[in-house]
């Protein structure tokens, strides 16, 4: 960046009214937003367009790389006629169900265990080396075990999504509890709060920022868990669709499945952000660019 960005409003001639200055500032902000949008659309269309073009002209092999139009075509086929493995909605719902169950159970137990251990120094000192060991196991290696334990159905995927989510949320909840302000806790105690009231009124709310930070990441983790579980062995699910598409060299199908996952993940992220903003409305607004 060569130009130093400042927060100054532009210079105005002496005697310019406040209203004119405000109007100019709003105009500048709107223009800037438009420019950002324009670039974003330009990048997207440029990328998709050159992919399509390169594939059609066979600069890249369409057999391996597919092209946007064939991906859209495949999605349309799936939506209108279903996949070779049955209705698309069944697959989509299966993956959603697995990741949602894994996410909620993992987040719930992560928060509870994080708070309990965070509030209990003795217990946390005792179990911390064990948690470190468990945490250092790469979660995906557990997938085959879970398939063995819980079978090809829902259970094994939920279990994998659960362990993916649990440790992330647990670590953050634990840290959040530990970071709770000492003066604030002392204040609550002197005002008359019992240990349970301190946990509810001070510790949990102050850990909430940390917990939400982990929830954003961990929803993605839950989806990874569900899909890896499906790769290893499943009867339904987006992961299975990708496996089947791979088996028949249907690259368009593989990309189409990825598009579905992206849509699902983004909607989930949107919901989490929404809930976060509702629950954490006490936070000061983040620093905002002045739109110059």
């Amino acid at each position: 960046m060569s130009k130093v960005e400042t927060l100054d409003t532009p210079r105005f001639a002496v005697g310019t009214s406040d209203r004119e200055i405000e109007a100019a500032a709003i105009r500048a902000a709107v223009n800037r937003k438009r420019r950002v949008r324009l670039w974003q659309w330009g990048l997207l269309l440029g990328f998709l367009g050159s992919w399509e073009l390169a594939s059609r002209r066979e600069w890249i092999d369409p057999f391996f790389y597919a092209m946007p139009s064939s991906i859209v075509g495949r999605l349309w086929d799936w939506l209108s006629e279903g996949t070779a493995e049955g209705s698309l909605w069944v697959h989509l719902w299966t993956t959603m169900e697995e990741s949602l169950l894994g996410f909620f159970s993992g987040a719930f137990f992560g928060i509870v265990v994080g708070i309990v251990l965070g509030r209990n120094k003795m217990a946390s000192d005792v179990v911390s080396p064990f948690i470190k060991v468990l945490n250092s196991i790469p979660r995906v290696v557990l997938a085959p075990f879970f398939v063995m334990f819980f079978g090809l159905g829902l259970g094994s995927k939920v279990a994998l999504a659960f362990v993916m989510v649990f440790f992330v949320v647990f670590a953050n909840a634990f840290q959040g509890v530990r970071e709770a302000d000492r003066a604030m806790i002392a204040n609550a105690q002197i005002l008359g709060a019992s240990p349970a009231q301190v946990t509810r009124a001070v510790v949990i709310p102050s850990a909430m920022t940390w917990i939400f930070a982990s929830l954003h990441v961990s929803f993605g983790m839950a989806i990874i868990g569900a899909i890896v579980g499906e790769y290893v062995g499943a009867k339904h699910g987006i992961g299975l669709l990708i496996e089947v598409a791979k088996g028949s060299f249907d690259t368009a199908g593989m990309f189409a499945a990825i598009v579905l996952i992206v849509i699902f993940a983004l909607s989930a992220e949107w919901v989490v952000t929404h809930i976060e903003n509702m629950l954490l409305k006490w936070r000061p607004a983040p620093f905002q660019d002045q739109g110059h």
Binding site: D181, A183, M184, A186, N187, A188, Q189, I190, L191, G192, A193, S194, Q197, A201, V202, P205, S206, M208, L280, W282, R283, P284
Partner: protein
């Protein structure tokens, strides 16, 4: 602002017959570091705070001022000696105590009225009753219009008013204040001093006010204790015979105030120099 008739604690005759509000008798407090080394914060520390008395404690940095307050709250226990409240040995947090912190100890996720009503609600009062009380206290500190604001939306001075209301709503008989106004600008601080004296004169609480600001100590207190450089112990105690009600903004220019300031500062300076030499030397 000076609406309430100030009660001079010394004028009340029956108080002499009662046990003091706070007694620290030959108290020591030692900390053991994780490496196993011990560090003495206060040693042979004795002060007495009579009922309704406003006591200020001044001393150089690191002389264990905050430690003494933690001992009175029961959040910490003495390594030796005894701490008594109203004649009884401290065991745990006493509900008659109120504490105003140096740092912002308001709950940032609660709006003003939920912060102020926290004490009564922790103590089991129904919400409606706690809210009524909180509204009354917010009116007294001049924040009636701000009950739905969150702490981050208020200025430093307003947050301190909320903190005062939050503390006073429990009707504390003992009020402990740990450099409560040190983060405020000078003008706001003077306003808060008058506000505090006003609230105190109505509540008749016994106060221990810790500060490193000598003028603040003299302006507010009936008695000023000067502590030695750490490990802290009481060096001298001064009776502040300035008349009440006091106006902090004006009292500092009276001859008696200036005389007291000089006298106490001469005493305090030695300790500050020792403390400084230690910090730069070590």
């Amino acid at each position: 602002m000076s609406g309430g008739a100030a009660l001079s604690p010394h004028a009340a005759p029956h108080m002499a017959t009662q046990t003091p509000a706070i007694e620290l008798i030959n108290v020591s407090r030692r900390f053991i570091s994780p490496e196993g080394k011990s560090f003495t914060a206060i040693r042979d520390f004795s002060i007495t705070v009579n009922r309704g008395e406003f006591v200020a404690v001044v001393g150089p940095t690191g002389c264990g001022k905050s430690t003494t307050l933690n001992l009175v709250t029961g959040l910490a226990t003495p390594s030796a000696g005894e701490v008594r409240i109203m004649g009884k040995k401290v065991s745990g947090i006493d509900p008659r105590i109120g504490f105003v912190f140096q740092a912002d100890a308001l709950f940032p996720w609660r709006n003003v009225i939920d912060n102020v009503s926290a004490g009564p609600m922790f103590r089991g009062q129904p919400k409606a009753q706690a809210y009524d009380k909180a509204r009354d206290w917010l009116k007294r500190v001049g924040l009636a219009k701000f009950e739905k604001h969150y702490p981050h939306q208020l200025s430093g001075g307003m947050r301190k008013r909320v903190a005062l209301a939050q503390t006073f709503i429990n009707g504390p008989e003992i009020l402990l204040m740990d450099e409560p106004f040190s983060a405020l600008d000078v003008q706001t601080r003077v306003v808060m001093h008058n506000e505090l004296l006003n609230l105190w004169s109505e509540s008749k609480a016994s106060v221990v006010f810790i500060t490193h600001d000598l003028e603040e100590a003299i302006g507010l207190a009936d008695r000023v204790y000067v502590l030695t450089a750490g490990p802290g112990t009481v060096k001298t105690s001064y009776e502040i015979d300035l008349p009440r009600p006091r106006n902090i903004a004006e009292i500092r220019y009276t001859p008696r105030f200036i005389e007291l300031s000089k006298q106490i500062w001469d005493d305090l300076r030695e300790e500050v120099e020792i403390s400084q030499a230690r910090q730069t030397g070590a």
